[in-house]
Amino acid sequence: MDHKKKMKELLPGWLHRPAPEGDVVVSSRIRLARNLQGYSFPHQADEQALESVIAKVERALKKSAFTLKRLDGIGQSDRLLLVEQYLISPDLLKNPAHRGVMVNSDQTVAIMLNEEDHIRIQSIHPGLALQEAWDEANRFDDVLEAELDYAYAEKAGYLTTCPTNVGTGLRASVMLHLPALQMVDQVKKVLSVLPHVGLSVRGIYGEGTESTGNLYQISNQVTLGLTEDEIIGKIISVTKQVMDQERSAREALLAKESRLQLEDRVRRAYGLLSEARLISSEEAFKLWNNVLLGVKLGLIPEVSVEQVNELFFLIRPAILQHIVGKDLTPHERDYYRAEVIRKHLQTKRG
């Protein structure tokens, strides 16, 4: 197989954009919830209404180079691929009939159809780029609204299926990589203040346990009564503070006698990851975390941050199956996963 070319196709398009503050912030994401006037919300709507929603959105985006992927038109492994590429939510899979997603050509914007709301516009950027993600999502929101009548009320704003999204319909989030804060046992302390300012935090554990989770997502809880700029501004300023804390923790770890231990830990992880012959996604994710830290701290100079970021996707089951080009048993997956990781770490080296 042409490893490089195939991989590029399978990795989400947004991954290759510039990543400001990429040493701490993995990605920034904007999600806008919208509904069409005159149709019941998806969970109450009949087939005909759901189909109308799909047809109307497709028509409204005709000039914008989006492709419709219908979930009822593809197999389960292709659906899981969309989830792993962050183009759809796992919730959309619960009931694939009359559901779909419209994706733009460089896969940076995905518009889910008939999930909890009729329309969910999503824009993802790597690094701290919430403003850019908002601008992009907002632009396509305008494109849609030029053709479609949104459910909107003067007082409550954009009307959503769940009242927790009403108003702006905006969920803005950033994913942070905080291994140093975790190592010095400060994560809880730093993040515990966030709920007091209306933000929520959750750990991303991949498929593993708490020990593997150095990834945290910060997002807004409140969608009503604040402007989009206020919501985004709040998350950016909080993120910057957390970022400073993480950076100081990294410096402290490198300065102390702990440096050797740290170097040992990340180099061991790198050794295992690049030499294993069988590896589960849980183990791969755990090692990946340490390798990412090592690369960011300059302790693994032979690998680039971009390369490690790509690995984050390559170790996932559905993406892996698509690289290999067939359905795999769990044991086969562990074998091919190890092979793909090894090749990926070799290809760009030197």
Binding site: Q44, P163, T168, L170
Partner: protein
Amino acid sequence: MWCERCKQRPATVHVTKVVNNHKTETHLCATCAQESGVDAGKELGFLFEPNFSFHNLLASLLENEFGPQSAISPYQTKIEKCATCGLTFTDFRKIGLLGCADCYQAFDKSLGPLLRRVHGHLSHTGKVPKRTGGKVRIKKEIADLRRKLQEAIGREAYEEAAQIRDEIRAKEEELK
């Protein structure tokens, strides 16, 4: 509103009881509610539910808001049904999802406390859709201009104020 019992903390638990057509309302803080046995939190129980989800949580918040007794209130059962999609407020309390855009209007009274609890606000201040929001957007622009006008008058920038006043008049014309 302060707690009727201790008069020291804000009332966050509101219980409406209807017995023989006689309605009583009680407003308590969380502490007093627990002590006097009307702790609606007992109804939550969601922490131990294996299929914990956000919708359950929302439904529980509603339970908390209205108290388990409110289900027998005639106000709840008779009026609170969305004429457009047929969803009842009781349905909403179970699933945490509204049925259509008109539900917001149909359940306006009951949703208010929930929105305040979740968001701390009741009114949208963000983006207004260009087309659908037409008049709403103009009204918002007028409100913004009025603020600017006051500010200009405050600085005694009368020429600027006159200009802003003309802009407001033009926008008001658009609304007619």
